[in-house]
Symmetry: C2
Subunit: 213 residues, 2 copies
């Protein structure tokens, strides 16, 4: 990647998707691919793809296409997936447990170190071999263990206070599953998950025949 260059947020949001498809191609033994073939696969236009990937010094060669493995590795490195991240999950209900399960499948280095709860029935148990601790210990735990990412799986009402504690303890990023916009210091990156957006897009596609007629 060119030093000092500025990549827009929109491009960053598309990179994980490129990476997924490149991973799949790599797994299938595909060495190289053109922007047109990538376009058929991913659903972005070929020109959009060339423009996006030009941000990183231009991996494509005219008449040859992209080297699948090199591009996959480069995108992984740009995203920072060649490092390990320590995470905590706050909220050990169904969603917190599902996320703990889910991330355990990741090959990349996202490690859930602990879960935190306010419900005394859950404090002290283990989920997937991970301890569930009292939420009161959250700040100390993040500081002591240099936790990078906090995952919020609490109710909407509790989310801001949890984010405040995480920010106070020096967390670097928050992955927020609560349906509320968090206020955090500029030093903390936030990625909000809005599950219902996908369902709303789906509703459109279910109705498209009606709307396009």
């Amino acid at each position: 990647m060119k030093k000092g260059s500025k990549i827009s947020n929109a491009v960053i949001k598309r990179l994980p998707r490129y990476r997924r498809y490149l991973n799949e191609l790599n797994r299938k033994g595909v060495d190289k691919i053109s922007s047109r073939e990538l376009s058929d696969l991913i659903g972005y236009t070929a020109s959009q793809i060339r423009q996006d990937l030009n941000n990183f010094g231009g991996f494509g060669q005219q008449g040859y296409g992209y080297n699948v493995e090199a591009l996959y590795n480069e995108i992984s490195s740009i995203l920072g997936l060649d490092k390990e991240y320590k995470m905590v999950i706050v909220g050990a209900g169904n969603l917190g447990q599902a996320i703990a399960n889910h991330t355990s499948y990741y090959k990349a280095g996202f490690v859930v170190c602990s879960l935190f709860e306010v419900n005394p029935k859950l404090i002290g148990i283990k989920i997937n071999d991970i301890d569930v601790r009292d939420c009161e210990e959250l700040v100390q735990y993040i500081e002591d263990n240099a936790i990078d990412i906090g995952i919020i799986c609490t109710t909407k009402d509790a989310a801001q206070e949890v984010a405040d504690r995480m920010s106070f303890a020096g967390i670097k990023g928050i992955w927020n599953f609560a349906a509320v916009d968090l206020e955090v210091p500029e030093s903390v990156a936030v990625e909000n998950v809005h599950l219902s957006d996908g369902l709303h897009s789906l509703a459109y596609h279910i109705n498209r025949n009606h709307y396009l007629s």
Copy 2:
């Protein structure tokens, strides 16, 4: 919306986000908003916003801006959120239960009618007052109850077979949480949830100071 006009998938993907912000503004009693103010809020450029919203006949008036409530209602209607959708969830583990919980908060008409499982320990119980049925009954249930949307919360390995059964039974859309690309007939809309994409974008932002230095 103009009859017969074609709206790109990318615009459709942005509409739920517009709708969320407009809903918040409406709740706060804001009547009208300019594309520039919307831009500050949502993070898309003002010109992108004008271009997107022009797809729907142009709600904005020069020097006035957009009528928040009218635009919210129009986008809701375009997405098809003025209707009710009957849904089933296959996989009643932590994720399936979390999704059943999650969708129960939606004000729009997405109703989970039943969960389905292969695990005999879960078949017959109720989650959030919703019955967990044997997966063998899935096709019959979808047909009998005219289910619109199937939500797949199974393992990666089971997902395609579940999608096949749903498609066979005449489902209109699939909301897929399994990390696998499904093959379905053209008549079935699929929305894949890729949770890890958000985490990967977050990793980038945590590292951005390093990369942008």
